[in-house]
Amino acid sequence: MQGPVPYSLLPVLVRYSQKGMATTPNKVSAAQKESQQGFVYLPLIAGWLVPGAGHFLLRKWGRGALLAASIVGMFALGLAMQGKLYGGAHDILDMLGLAGDLGSGLLYIVSRALGLGADQVQVTTADYGTRFIVVAGLLNVIAAVDAHNLRTGRKA
C-alpha cells in the first residue's frame, strides 16, 4: 500500500535517512578504523604461538597473565603426569589429538624438540596428562581468538 506519508512519521524517516551520512558517529568509527590499521591477525598468531601474548600485545596485562598461567600450567602439569605428545596421525583419534596439541603453538614444538612427554600411555595418570596437554592447546586457541576479537573491536 502506497500513499502520502503521515506527518507524524517524518522525524523517524529523517533520522533513518541520516544514518549513512557523515554524522558524528561515523566520524568516530572512521577514527577507530584508522587506529586499528595494521596487521589485525598479529594478536591471533602471537596468541597461538605464545599463550597470552595476543593479550599482552593489546596491553591487557592482567588477562594475558592469567591466560598464560592457566594454559602453560595445564600444559606443564600434563607433561609432569607423563602425558603423551601426539607426533603423527595414524587414526582419527590421533589426528584429533595432534590438532589439539598443535593449538599450544611453540609449547608443543619446543616440547617435541626436547623429547618431553611419554611415547606411550602406561598409567592412569599419564592418560589424565595426555588430556591436559590436548585441552591446554584447545584453550590456547580460544584465548588467541579472543585476542583477535579484542583487536578487531568485536569484543570490548
Binding site: R63, L66, L67, A69, S70, I71, G73, M74, L77, A80, M81, Q82, V123, T124, T125, Y128, R131, F132, V135, A136, L139, I142, A143, V145, D146, K155, A156
Partner: protein, 59 residues
C-alpha cells in the same frame, strides 16, 4: 612424576579451564569472575554427581 588423585586432577582441570572460559566468554571483570566461578562449580559439581551415579549404578 606428578601423580594426582582423580579428584585433584578434576579440580586442577576445572580451575584452569574456568579461568580461560571466564576471561574469554565475558566482557567485564566482574562478569568474568562470576562466569569463571560458575564454570568451576559446574565442572566439579557434574564430576561429583556423575561419580555418585556411576557408583550407585555399579552396586
Amino acid at each position: 612424576m606428578f601423580r594426582p588423585s582423580h579428584f585433584a586432577a578434576v579440580v586442577l582441570f576445572a580451575l584452569f579451564a574456568s579461568v580461560v572460559f571466564g576471561i574469554t566468554q565475558r566482557e567485564t571483570p566482574p562478569r568474568m569472575f562470576r562466569y569463571g566461578i560458575y564454570c568451576f562449580v559446574l565442572f566439579v559439581g557434574s564430576a561429583v554427581v556423575l561419580s555418585w551415579l556411576m557408583f550407585l549404578i555399579a552396586r
